[in-house]
């Protein structure tokens, strides 16, 4: 007798993170000295877990956390890095982009990969 694999259900005594349909890419847009916020709407109705990776230098390297430099903060950031801070509420996922004081990247767009889970 063949086993119908589609009938199988995963059971775990421990919970696991389940991915929502909100896994994708958005742009963080730095417009000047003041931090600039962009967002997407998920409308889950609660505050879910999320993951993010940012291409700080627009070169195909996706960073999982803060881009550390010799001096912390936008004033010490070199190499054309845009600082990106992610956050979330019950309806939207936000990224805040802060410009470097390097005029060459004063206003820039950087891609951000995000993933929103169904678990709070």
């Amino acid at each position: 007798m063949a086993v119908d694999l589609t009938k199988l259900q995963f059971y775990s005594g421990n919970n696991y993170l389940k991915r929502s349909s909100f896994f994708g890419q958005m742009n963080a847009v730095s417009t000047g000295y003041d931090p600039n916020q962009t967002s997407i709407t998920h409308n889950l109705g609660y505050i879910p877990q999320f993951v993010v990776a940012a291409d700080y230098q627009n070169n195909g390297i996706w960073w999982a956390n803060e881009f550390c430099n010799d001096v912390r903060g936008p004033g010490g950031v070199t190499n054309g890095v845009i600082m990106i801070s992610p956050s979330i509420d019950s309806t939207r996922f936000f990224v805040i982009a802060s410009a470097s004081y390097d005029g060459s990247v004063f206003a820039a767009t950087r891609p951000v990969k995000y993933g929103i889970y169904l678990d709070s």
């Binding site: 259900q9 996706w62 960073w63 956390n65």
Partner: protein
Amino acid sequence: MAVTDVDILSFISQFPIDKIALVDSITISNPGPTYANEDLQRARVVTATKAHSVGRPCFIRARFRIDGGEWQDMNTILFYTFVVTSFGTVLGNRIGQISIGCGANNVYFRTANGHHSDASGSGPFSYTTFAHAFEIQYVLYEMD
């Protein structure tokens, strides 16, 4: 009816979950700051790159420890304070911070070490630098 061939079982989930693509680690030596003439709160950044076989960028989870100490979350920044002895001023700097990024074929690392002793002199200053070894364990998991 009992399933006798467990090899035919596969994982079916109503919702997709994270799929781990690679687990690896690296140790990076950072000799510490040498900016005694200025920038007492500046850190030395040492970078490294390690190839991976996934062939596409991934999300990352990571932890690190310094000199075999306690494991830290990848977002942790370890601070300390030092004294500018001539003025009695207490300032802060970083013992350690890491950044980790992923491209299609490589994982990229940055470590920051600003750890030094109290600073003597009134400019230029002098201090003893403390080197540290950053051990980073990381997991790559699928973005899509």
